[in-house]
């Protein structure tokens, strides 16, 4: 059974995979997979070189200097915690206030000059009258005076 290229490439890059004769055979036949294996080998060598590069050493007295910084860092962290707690508390209070206002708004009865049904009717008729003044085309008078309408359903 012949191996597929995707499987070969997966095996080439997977760690510790011993190259089977079948894999070697495929690499011998398939130029693209052979190039893939070569590139991976080059990359792996480069990783090994990077791993061999020495890391910088801690400078003299690193631990002692660090320990001197700890009280300040702890105080700073505590202050940050307090500030976050305060901000959080403010958000909670603001949310509660908004919720109370919303509930109050919903519970207040629909009364008063603007909210009653009569007042609403008066308001509507006022608006219509103003609209008719400003736009005579839409008033009944203008329509009756300027246009002649053909009788419904009848011809001449």
């Amino acid at each position: 059974m012949t191996m597929r290229c995707y499987k070969v490439r997966r095996l080439v890059t997977s760690e510790g995979a011993a190259r089977s004769p079948e894999l070697e055979q495929h690499l011998g036949r398939c130029g693209a997979c052979a190039a893939y294996a070569r590139d991976w080998e080059r990359l792996r060598t480069s990783f090994q070189k990077a791993a061999a590069e020495p890391a910088p050493e801690p400078s003299f007295g690193f631990a002692a200097r660090l320990i001197r910084l700890l009280p300040g860092a702890a105080a700073e962290a505590r202050a940050r915690e307090v500030s976050v707690e305060r901000t959080g508390r403010r958000f909670v209070l603001a949310g509660l206030l908004a919720a109370v206002l919303l509930v109050l708004g919903l519970l207040v009865p629909p009364s008063g000059p603007v909210r009653s049904p009569e007042a609403a009717e008066i308001q509507t008729s006022r608006v219509e009258a103003t609209a008719a003044q400003n736009y005579p085309l839409f008033s009944n008078q203008a329509i009756e005076g300027e246009y002649e309408f053909a009788p419904v359903g009848g011809g001449h």
Partner: protein, 195 residues
């Protein structure tokens, strides 16, 4: 406390550190400083940043040591903090991506200076590319790929060790590793074609 020996003084140092004893923490720092420096350098690849980042990691660990419950080895717990901190730094760095002269190794700087002065600059550049190839490709990779490839290919950790450090299943680590390698290889081939 499966991972720590009962007679290991480290247990005592950790307990004292949890009570705020700085001197005990100094002993822990001395034990792990080289390991943290090495990990930070391998991931960040900038000499001048290593000490500062290592310092931030040890401070973070000190502030969080109350949450250490001896479930994993202290070293693993500390390395997890280091990895997370480096990951945050990488993401921050990626958002302001510039190649600095100072990012190069001493050899790199010297080669650039020489290439400007010498007619053989091209040859030196090729040598530099060979040496810094992994570094360059890692610099271009996403923080996720960079992290997992560094742990596997440069730190030479096993899949199980990586899964413990990143708190991932071993199968997830394998899949991510395979995808990261594939992407890096594709990037390497694009880079070669563009040369």
């Amino acid at each position: 406390m499966a991972t720590l020996e009962k007679d290991d003084p480290e247990v005592e140092w950790i307990r004292r550190t949890q009570q705020g004893d700085g001197d005990a923490y100094a002993l822990l720092v001395s034990r792990y400083e080289r390991r943290v420096f090495s990990l930070v350098y391998r991931i960040m690849r900038r000499h001048e940043e290593v000490e500062e980042i290592a310092q931030e990691i040890f401070i973070k660990a000190f502030l969080a040591v109350g949450n250490y419950h001896f479930e994993a080895a202290f070293g693993t717990w500390l390395m997890r903090i280091a990895i997370n901190h480096c990951y945050d730094q990488l993401r921050r760095r990626r958002s302001s991506r510039v190649t600095y002269f100072s990012e190069m190794s001493a050899d790199g700087e010297q080669a650039v200076v020489l290439s400007a002065e010498s007619r053989e600059g091209g040859r030196i550049q090729v040598e530099l590319e060979g040496r810094d190839l992994a570094g360059k490709l890692l610099e271009r990779a996403s923080p996720e790929d960079r992290m997992i490839l560094t742990l596997k290919e440069i730190e030479d950790l096993s899949v199980d060790e990586i899964s413990r450090l990143l708190k991932l299943k071993a199968s997830t680590v394998k899949v991510r590793l395979h995808r990261a390698r594939k992407r890096m290889l594709a990037d390497f081939r694009r880079w070669q074609e563009g040369k």
